[in-house]
Structures are given as structure tokens and as C-alpha cells.
Assembly symmetry: C2
Homo-oligomer: 445 residues x 2
């Protein structure tokens, strides 16, 4: 069913048919379908949905749509949604909501829930704590498989996953994990302590969510336990939330690396003003930075006016320097992000980039030299000036492009800042200084 | 345990202790630990591992290490590994292996396996077929839950996942899916046909794996069925394989967008020559492209030598144009990759970028104008020339940066090619043409 069809059916008041059709659809698709509709129509259809589907659909609404629904429904309806909503989805929702609606939600929660919500809202935005959920299956070491399965049957419906179960002691310290697969395949009277895996890989509430994502990729986990400072189990992170994190973290890096403030807004939904705000500050900063390069040109104005042909090679030298630096910084930034490279590899990276840049520089310079001599016919001195500058530029650009992201990492800055646009601005100034220096020497000016 | 510790223990021949320690570790970590060791040592330790762990470790070895092990072990040992290895891991291995070892593997497979392997090797590299596995649980509609669970207990050990089970008819047409969660919670005598989900989201063997990744992100699936042209179930894709795909696809885009040939090699493992080969062709191409810009300068040499100060603003104008275009192209390329934007949105994108670029251009031009007048003191005409060029450049750069990726998509090219480096080269030429045109008019030259 698509939006046009749905609106047609609403027009004709074919509500029974609508309910039937929507009930067969995936909750994500129903949310996508209802999200663009106006407030009243959405609420009308939303109230028709079977209770279970309704909560799933609600969890996938945009925060605007969630807010307008929370605003319009009765306290009783809200309580039902809050009861059924997974805790991590509830936190996501609250984080995006205006204060008066947050109050309405807290008013409809009990004291225990309120305390938990307040605790969760305190986790830093990019931390493991901010994406974990509290609906998981807890088992005890002394249980046997039959008991464990009975426990899962009784409580499993409200858990975000039952496929990985967590064994904790009386102090909630994590002692082991056991998969539903092993429970189902094992004998009824096997003890959990004999079945559980004790070498557990876990994360802390304040760990960075990007590094949590890398753990999921490395090990292919379905869920990962999260413990607090006292090593007590406080939540779990499931793979479906990590899929979003991995996508968002990459998108964020793409944006920062293209000199934009990162934003989670979808491009087509974002307003022109918010997109402009994302972009202008960096453009301004880099524009001002580029005036340094202009200053260098001004300083060598005499040189340029006596050998005007030198100006013609400035764009090519600047672009090649920028591109060379951009290649290196991109590989290093990405390597750092996915955990393939770390600060301790700095000398390995330096040496590698040095050799690559020598090879690249010589090839580029040779091609350029031939072109200068045979096609441009600018004479030996100018050809040599341009070609030597090319080699030095490529080498410096690659070294700067690879070292700055590593330096940023060391200083706990986001390495993605040290990407193409900033590297280009820095390399431009260096390129021109090198160019004019060679020109002064080789052209005897 | 780390490598140094392990080598120490090997030196002291503490094999029992080694076996004990490794048996407690995650298979991924054991593979990471053994992978850098020399052939003989790896084989020595590998043969000590408990059979189950050994196969898991083998699956995570690098293809070089896998090849050397396949080369060294007996046919009997190989048969055991092949029997236990998941089919998708086997295909991954074979794809990277020298022909003589592939022969050794095929020799140790039965006819049915050989046919399957040959069929799987034919799927395109980036297709759903190339990442799917054939070890999944098949159920029949008429079974009851008790029978289904018994079936899973009997066959589940060798399946890649048992958490999603697939209901097919006699022609292997997919009729429904049912989760282990529902099976465990349901009554023993519920019929599978009453429990199964019939509105199934599935993919085709030849679908692009990037779009499959987007489906996983959108729906949070644990596994997705893959059907052939006749809609017969031929495999499933599990979330752990998709995690790798999502990471690799983003890395590939980062590389292409930084003007490099994409490569799956790890940076630190890659040789200097292979990294240089990844980078030099694009650098050469862009260098040659940039000479067009040089040609434009040559054409306006007269203008430049009579108003030398104009040269000083060339780097700033080029950089700002490049940065503006880069911002737009990055957002559009990423939006296309994650399925947020499609070709049909072209006019929406055009109109959005046009308005953003007008706002950005005016802000940048105003700041620049004030700076030109108050700090650089270059006079009104030059200030106006530079500022007007800035506005036009930003607008054109953003329109070109946003439209070229959409055009590439339409032509079935990879939109990531239309990123910063290429956009910069194109925008540079336009910027300078605009600049010199304004200069001619405003300075009356």
C-alpha cells in the first residue's frame, strides 16, 4: 500500500479495509506511510491499529510525529504505549521531546521508571549507555535448562531479545552468558553453570558507541552486555541498534570530512536554514584560512609579474597537493574510525606514506615535465620548477595528510576534522612557498 | 593472552597450557593471535585446538593463512574443516585461493557440494547471492511447534542461525517465516501455519548487497531470505555478514570519494606498491584535468599582469568553490548510498541547494567584501569583482556538486566518483572564467 492509495481509502472511509491492510505490513513500513500525514489523520489511523502493532509503529515514528501523538492521546493510552515500548526507544523519544511532553510522560510513569529514565538521560550522547536497553533475560547459575526455558517463556515476550541470556549473581555482577540456541539444544536438566560461556566480552556504560560498533563488526555479536563502574550488569546493546550506530557514525564522518557540522537530520527533511547553518561556518573559516595563501602570492608578486607563465601552474599544483593530502588523510581517518589503525602505528604510517609519496611524486612530476617541455613549451627552467615543486608538494601533502589525523586522535579530537578541506588549505600555502622558492632559485630571480 | 606471551610459551613448549588458554578465548581473538605467526608455528598451534574452535578460528584467518593451512594439512583434516565450515565462509575462502588449492578442496567435496560451490562462485561480487549462506532451518506448514522444536534440536547445531526459521512448500517456494522466540513461547501443539509471518521481506540473489544492507538497517532484521528468479528459497543472509558489508561499503565510498580505487586490503597490511597503484591513476587524471584551469589563466595573462593583485585571490576563490561543491556532493552521495535520496528527488535537491547556495554565497561574499575594503584595501572594483565571483562560484559549485552524483546514479555509475576531487577540478575552471569575466567588466579591461 502506498500513500496515495491510503489517502483514497481514508477519503472513502474504508476503515475496516485500512486496518486489515496495515495489520499485514511491517511496523517500519506502516510508520513510514503514516509519518507524512497530518496530525489528525495519523492519530485516526494510529488508534485503529492492533495494540501490538501500534507500539511498534510508534517507536518508528519521527520525533515530531511522536510528540504530536503524545500531546493528543489520553493518559490511559499513553500509559499503554509506555508500558510496551522498549526502554531504549523510550529514551530516544524523550531526548528529542519538548519539556512539557516529557513532563506528561514522567507523570504517567511510576517512581522506579522515573528514576531509571533520569539515570539514562545522564549518559553522554555517544556512549554505550545511551543506546543500551534494560529488557533482557536474566538467569541464575544454579538453574537447570528446563527452569531457564520456563522462565524465558514467562518473561520473554517483553524482552528486546531472548536469544542471549545473562547469568548474574546476587550483586548483579555478570557471571556468564548463554544463548537460546544452546538452551534449546541442551538436555532439560543440564545446569546453566555448565552451559554458560564465562569469557565474556562486555563494554562499559561510558565507552564510545563507535568502538562498540567495531566490536560488533569484529565478533559478529547479536548483543553485548554493558556494565557500570562496579561491573554490575546495567543493560545490553542489540545488533539492530548497532546497525543504526554504524550507519550514523559513517555519515557523521562523511559530513565532518567534507567540512560540515555533523547532523542526524535527513537531507530531504532538513530545512534550508539548518543545512546552511551546517555548512557556512566551516566555509567561512576555510575562506579566511585561504587568504594566507593569497598573502604568499602577494609577497611574490614581483616574481609572478616578471614570469607570468608561473601563474598558470598554480591551480594544478594546488589541486594535486590537495588531492594527495586528501587521499592519505581519508585512509588514516577511516582506519582510525574502524579500529584498524591506532596512534602507536604513527611511524609505520609515516614511513609508508613517505615511500608512497616519493613514488607518486616522481610519476606525476615525470608526466608533467614531459607535458611542460613537449606541449606547453615553457622552457627547461620553468618545467623543472613546476616538476620539482610537484614532488615536494606530494611528499609534504601525504605526510601532513596522514600525520594530522593521528595527532588529532592523540589529542582526543575527532580525526575526521583533519580531512581534505583543512589539509588542502594548509598544503596550499606550503605548495606556493615551495613553488616560489624553487622559482627564485632556478629562474635566478 | 598476547603474541609475546604466546611465543614465550611456545619457546618453553608449554603446549597443554597454550591449549587451555586458547580454548577460553573467542575464536576471532585466537585467529588474530595466530595469523601473524609463521606457517609452521600456526599449524602446530592450530592442530592443538579443540575441533569446534579450530573451524571457527580457521574461518577468521586471513586468506594467506587459510591457503597455507589448506596446503599443509591432510585430506582427512581438510574434509573435517570443510564439513564444519559454514557455506558462506567456504565460498569466501575459495574466492581468494590459488587454483591448485581450490582443486584440493573440490577433490575433498562430494558431487552435490561441488555443484553448489560452482553455482555460488557465479554470483556477482557485490550481489546478495555472494554473501548468503545455505545453512538455515527449514520447516513445513503442517508441522506443530513440538515437531518444529524437535527438528531444530536435531539439525540446529549445523545451522548458521536457528533464530529465524523458514517455511517452504514442496517446490521450495517460501511461504512464511517463524522466529525461535515465537516457537519457544507458543504452545507445543500450535500449528506452524498459524504462527508464521506470511508478509515476508526478501531479496533476490542478484540484488546489490549495499541495498540489502540498507534493508537490514531499516528493519533491524536478524536474517533475510534470498530467493532465485523462480522465487525459490536459495539462501539466507545473516546480520553478522551484513555488518561487514555495511562497513566495507562505507570504506569503499570513502576511498572513491577521495579519488582512489577502492580496495579491501587493510592499510597496515597493504604494500607500498599496491597503495601507490590505488592512488596514482586518479592523481594523474586530475592533474591533467587541472591544466584546463591553467589554460584559462594563460588566456587572461594580459589581465593578470595589468592588475597583479587579482592573482592573490585565486587560491581563496578556488578553495571556496571546491569546498562548497564538496559539501553538496558528499551529502547527496551519502544520501544515495543509504537510500535516503533517489534520482526522482532531483528537483527537490536542486531547489534546496540553490537556496542554500544563495544564502551561503551572500554571507561569504559580505565577509569577504568587508575584509577586501577594510583590511586588504584593494579598492571597490577589485572587492566587488572578488565578492560577486564568490556568490556565483558558490551557487554553481553547489548545483554541480549536487547534480553530478544524481546524474551518475541515473547512468548506473557509482555516484561516489562525483565527489570533492572531481567537482573541485570542474569548479576551478568555472570559477576562474567567472572571475576574469567580472574583472574585465568591472575593471574595464
Amino acid at each position: 500500500m502506498n500513500e496515495v492509495k491510503l489517502l483514497e481509502m481514508i477519503e472513502k472511509k474504508e476503515y475496516v479495509k485500512i486496518k486489515e491492510r496495515l495489520s499485514q505490513m511491517n511496523e517500519v513500513d506502516v510508520a513510514d506511510l503514516l509519518d507524512p500525514l497530518d496530525e489528525n489523520t495519523t492519530l485516526l489511523i494510529f488508534r485503529m491499529l492492533p495494540k501490538d502493532l501500534a507500539v511498534g509503529v510508534f517507536a518508528h515514528f519521527s520525533s515530531e510525529q511522536q510528540s504530536s501523538i503524545v500531546n493528543s492521546i489520553t493518559d490511559k493510552e499513553l500509559t499503554h504505549i509506555l508500558d510496551e515500548l522498549f526502554f531504549d526507544d523510550m529514551i530516544d523519544m524523550i531526548e528529542e521531546m519538548p519539556a512539557n511532553l516529557v513532563d506528561k510522560i514522567l507523570k504517567n510513569s511510576n517512581t522506579e521508571e522515573r528514576n531509571l529514565i533520569n539515570q539514562f538521560l545522564k549518559y553522554p550522547v555517544d556512549s554505550a549507555g545511551s543506546i543500551m536497553t534494560i529488557e533482557y533475560v536474566v538467569l541464575k547459575k544454579h538453574m537447570i535448562v528446563g527452569e531457564a526455558l520456563a522462565h524465558i517463556r514467562k518473561t520473554g515476550l517483553n524482552k528486546e531479545t531472548i536469544y542471549t541470556c545473562y547469568v548474574v549473581n546476587d550483586k548483579r555482577i555478570l557471571e556468564g552468558i548463554v544463548s537460546l540456541r544452546n538452551l534449546v539444544i541442551a538436555d532439560e536438566d543440564t545446569k546453566i553453570s555448565d552451559l554458560m560461556e564465562e569469557d565474556i566480552i562486555y563494554v562499559h556504560t561510558h565507552d564510545d558507541r563507535e568502538s562498540v560498533g567495531n566490536l560488533f563488526i569484529k565478533y559478529g555479536f547479536m548483543a553485548l552486555p554493558v556494565v557500570d563502574k562496579e561491573n554490575r550488569l546495567t543493560g545490553i546493546i542489540t545488533f539492530d541498534d548497532i546497525l543504526d550506530v554504524i550507519e550514523q557514525e559513517a555519515t557523521e564522518d562523511f559530513q565532518i570530512m567534507a567540512a560540515m557540522a555533523p547532523s542526524e537530520e535527513k537531507y530531504l527533511d532538513a530545512s534550508v536554514m539548518s543545512l546552511a547553518k551546517q555548512r557556512v561556518p566551516w566555509l567561512l573559516l576555510l575562506m579566511v584560512g585561504a587568504t594566507i595563501t593569497g598573502g604568499i602570492i602577494t609577497r611574490f608578486e614581483g616574481l609572478l609579474s616578471s614570469v607570468v607563465v608561473l601563474t598558470a601552474f598554480i591551480p594544478m599544483l594546488m589541486d594535486t597537493g590537495g588531492n594527495s593530502g586528501n587521499q592519505s588523510s581519508t585512509l588514516i581517518i577511516r582506519g582510525l574510525a574502524i579500529g584498524e589503525i591506532s596512534f602507536k602505528d604513527k611511524w609505520k604510517v609515516f614511513w609508508k606514506e613517505f615511500r608512497i609519496s616519493i613514488i607518486s611524486g616522481i610519476i606525476l612530476a615525470s608526466v608533467n615535465f614531459l607535458k611542460n617541455i613537449l606541449i606547453d613549451r615553457v622552457g627547461l627552467s620553468v618545467s623543472l620548477t613546476v616538476s620539482l615543486t610537484l614532488i615536494v608538494t606530494v611528499v609534504l601533502a601525504k605526510l601532513i595528510g596522514s600525520m594530522l589525523p593521528l595527532g588529532a586522535k592523540k589529542l582526543n579530537l575527532d580525526p575526521a576534522i583533519m580531512a581534505g578541506p583543512l589539509i588542502t588549505t594548509i598544503v596550499d600555502a606550503i605548495t606556493l612557498t615551495v613553488y616560489f622558492t624553487f622559482a627564485s632559485i632556478l629562474l635566478g630571480l
